[in-house]
Amino acid sequence: MLVLTRGGYALPGTSTDFKTGTWRTSRPQHQHWAAPCHSACPAGEDAQAYIAQVQENHPREAWETIVTVNPLPSVTGRICPHPCEQACNRGSFDTPLAIHSIERFLGDEARRQGWTYPVDPGRGAGAAVAVVGAGPAGLSAAYHLRRRGYQVTLFDALPEAGGLLRSAIPINRLPRDVLDADITRILGLGIEFRGRTRLGVDVHIDELRSDYRALFLAPGTAKAKAWSVDGAVPTDHRTALELLQEWVAAGSLPTPQSVILHGGGNTALDLCRAMKRAGVKEVHLVTASGLPGPGTEPDDIINVVPRELNQAVEEGITIHPHRTIQRLLFRGSKVVGVEMVALRKLPTKSGRTGRIAFEGTETLLHADMVIPAIGENVEPTGFSTLLGGKEYFRPNNPFGRLDHTPGVFVGGDARGDRGTVSAAIGDGRLAAIAIDAYIRQGDDPEENGRDTIDFAHINLNYFEPAPRVEEPILPVAERTDTAEIDGPLSGAAITREAARCFSCGNCLACDNCWTFCPDNAVIKTTALAKDGSHYVFDYEYCKGCGVCASECPCGYIVMNPE
């Protein structure tokens, strides 16, 4: 009979009796970082999170992820200058994710499919809160307050909600049926909208303060900044915003032979394009900012949506970057042109940056009309005590809480340093959170403490170059005042685009750690681990080699010394 001695064999898998985890000096841990796209989004969207849901083919859940912070993804997907894409780690590899296209697709899909906002206003204290100004900031605050169960009354001087989205932004960039449908859906959550009600005229701040537990003020900026060039002002000058609003409302525009716009934002560029299309032969934009390119610092780039700039150039707008107007040329009392001079944003003696003009670079530019587009301040009527003589509200906290005026919060363009739809939406959300805390006498909510993951943490070996999707854009000859210029993308194109995401700082469920651990110390599970991933470390056996951390494509594993 065959006999094996005890020394001659061992039972299968019995090595697990020996806990190699005691060898370890540092332990791998999952770390959910903030993705750069998330940190850069003024509205607070976590693009990484919803792109992951698109990758999993759950578009509705992806949309719900967005609308827990931003109720207007079809709007921001179209017109936000998308700083998320400037920050996207993929930009250092090939080209950034077309985050705005994915966002827009989800917003449009929600409307097409009739997905309802995941809002249950039943919960919460039910107290009454007033919101003044129904632009994106006010709409966002109303929505987020409603989500928390408050009774919200939304006041606006105009008959309809939307703010500048409705009154100024060109229809060919933001179709009004898109805007109307979304606003209707938001107000449909049980928000009382009172149009044609101007604070300071029809209602007064003290009234509101006594009738409502808290107030959110988002009047935007409507008072044109004073414009003069070295003391001279053309007698009949109109501002770009006025002209644009007239054009959006009535379709009419002045059509001189040539025009010079002075300013460097969306208002200037939108008016340039509208006038060019209306038949103005020569349209010049004089801006102190630079064009994107090697010679321009990121904070010095003209503050418009990048693809709008390309389209404007295609349409024949002449841009004079890093220039200002230092003299108006008159014939009699009529303006006939300007004198430009080159300038740059540079550090000055005081340490702050200032715009320095360079003597000897003066040039003349002739035109029939000069239009300022240098921005607006808060219209003080109704707010003068709160403004205290300043041009904007300047709360010293991200929530917009005004010191000395308990229960009053402000946000959006009225803060002076905002200027985008997404910043307005972000302000509305933060204020809603703070108002909720104020009414419940809780503490200010904690800010997101996650550090942002940088490009160096991404293991590029695991990604392939892939072209970015580009939305179809109407050819110049087919562009009109009303037809949307940027077309939609198909679901298939969106899926392809989402697949390019590095999943910065969050698990991609790629299995690498599970595959590469020489010690079988990464365990995979269908159930969700506490951190939301499907992987757990078995510290009884993990020797702390660090292979999993090096080979995690997304930087989701870090080694912490023990």
Partner: protein, 369 residues
């Protein structure tokens, strides 16, 4: 080490019953293993890691608790091979790190039948087991394993004989380019200019004087149905090659490149990175032979300079000194890589999803297979 049976070294066991019981136990464990990866249904309870370990969605032939160094490429290579080969196998093992670190008596990290006899005879033992299986009418595949010392050098004649007699055996060589288990002595596989304890860098020489033996071509020259090289850095490719080699009737051979943090002198965390660079520089080409002819290669997209690979490892540290010979040897290694790239026509013409950059692409839900 804890043992329950320290004094019982000489206790005899009736293997007929014991083996049957072990097989039954194993079958039960394997049934779990091959079942779904659904966590056991027990609502509201958290599962212990030990329970989850029993419900992994892939077969595990090599278990945790083995004594390999941190970041051992050989442990990773063997894990991946055993995983892809599946449960219906018998393994033999030559003496070497893999044998030692997986079988510290009275334990074993193997969950499949495994036998070790000597340093030089893994292939001979496998040939015998295969003959026995044939005699019993069983289809269980036999896999012989050995290190590079056990394969390129001391076990070579047994291997050559096994191949020549056309046994239905897959031979896997875990190539960590030196005799690691006895303290890093040079082998026929150690690359040119690498320092080992028996080919030190110094006044006389810049590391190993001779070249890495082209074993794969020698093996292929036995006219066997399938012989291939693989790397732990490309697990999808490795798994495919194991499955291919398992399917083929007759002798097959795999040479798996396995970095050794201890012997190569690199951080344990960069094991996979080092293995990847060996492939991407052209120093370790991934090639498949059928009946002696090249049947496929993994093309290189933009081959990297060999210094990218060398500078991560202390065994090549002397090549970065001021000594004029250092430069010469670096150039020599680059020329060897260029030669290999030319010889196997490795340079890809255009980006290919299966080339050195594409083959490891991931997506949500796993590697792109």
């Amino acid at each position: 080490m804890t043992t329950t049976d320290d004094t019982a070294v000489e206790t005899s066991v009736d293997t007929t019953t014991d083996i049957a019981a072990r097989k039954a136990a194993l079958r039960n464990r394997l049934k779990d293993k091959r079942g779904s990866n659904e966590a056991p249904a027990r609502a509201g309870t958290a599962f212990s890691i030990a329970e989850l370990r029993e419900h992994q969605p892939a077969f595990r032939g090599l278990e945790a608790g083995h004594r390999a160094c941190q970041g051992c490429g050989e442990a990773l290579g063997a894990r991946l091979v055993a995983e892809s080969a599946g449960p219906d196998v018998i393994l033999t093992n030559a003496t070497g790190c893999l044998e030692i670190f997986t079988s510290p008596w009275p334990q074993s990290a193997w969950r499949v039948p495994w036998i070790h006899s000597l340093f030089e005879n893994s292939a001979a033992i496998a040939a015998g087991v295969e003959a026995a299986m044939k005699h019993l009418g069983k289809s269980t595949k036999v896999i012989a394993q050995g290190g590079d010392g056990g394969t390129f050098d001391i076990g070579f004649q047994a291997l050559s004989g096994m191949l020549e007699r056309m046994h239905n055996v897959l031979y896997v060589c875990y190539d960590n380019e030196a005799y690691m288990n006895t303290g890093v002595q040079r082998s026929g596989s150690t690359p040119h200019a690498a320092a080992t304890t028996t080919s030190p860098a110094g006044l006389e020489r810049m590391g190993k004087r001779h070249l890495k033996k082209d074993l794969l071509s020698i093996i292929a020259a036995h006219h066997i149905p399938y012989a291939a090289s693989a790397s732990v850095a490309y697990p999808v490719d490795l798994r495919r090659k194991v499955r291919r080699a398992m399917e083929v009737e007759g002798p097959t051979f795999l040479q798996v490149h396995c970095p050794c943090p201890l012997g190569w002198g690199h951080e344990s965390s960069v094991t996979v990175e080092v293995a990847r660079l060996a492939v991407q520089t052209g120093l370790f080409p991934l090639v498949e032979f059928e009946r002696g002819e090249v049947a496929g290669v993994m093309p290189l997209r933009n081959p990297k300079p060999v210094t990218d690979y060398l500078k991560l490892q202390n065994r090549f540290r002397h090549l970065f000194s001021n000594d004029p010979r250092a430069r010469e040897e670096r150039e020599h290694l680059q020329a060897l890589a260029d030669h290999t790239i030319e010889k196997f026509n490795l340079r890809g013409e255009e980006a290919d999803p299966l080339d050195s950059e594409g083959a490891d692409t991931v997506r949500r839900g796993g590697l792109v297979a």
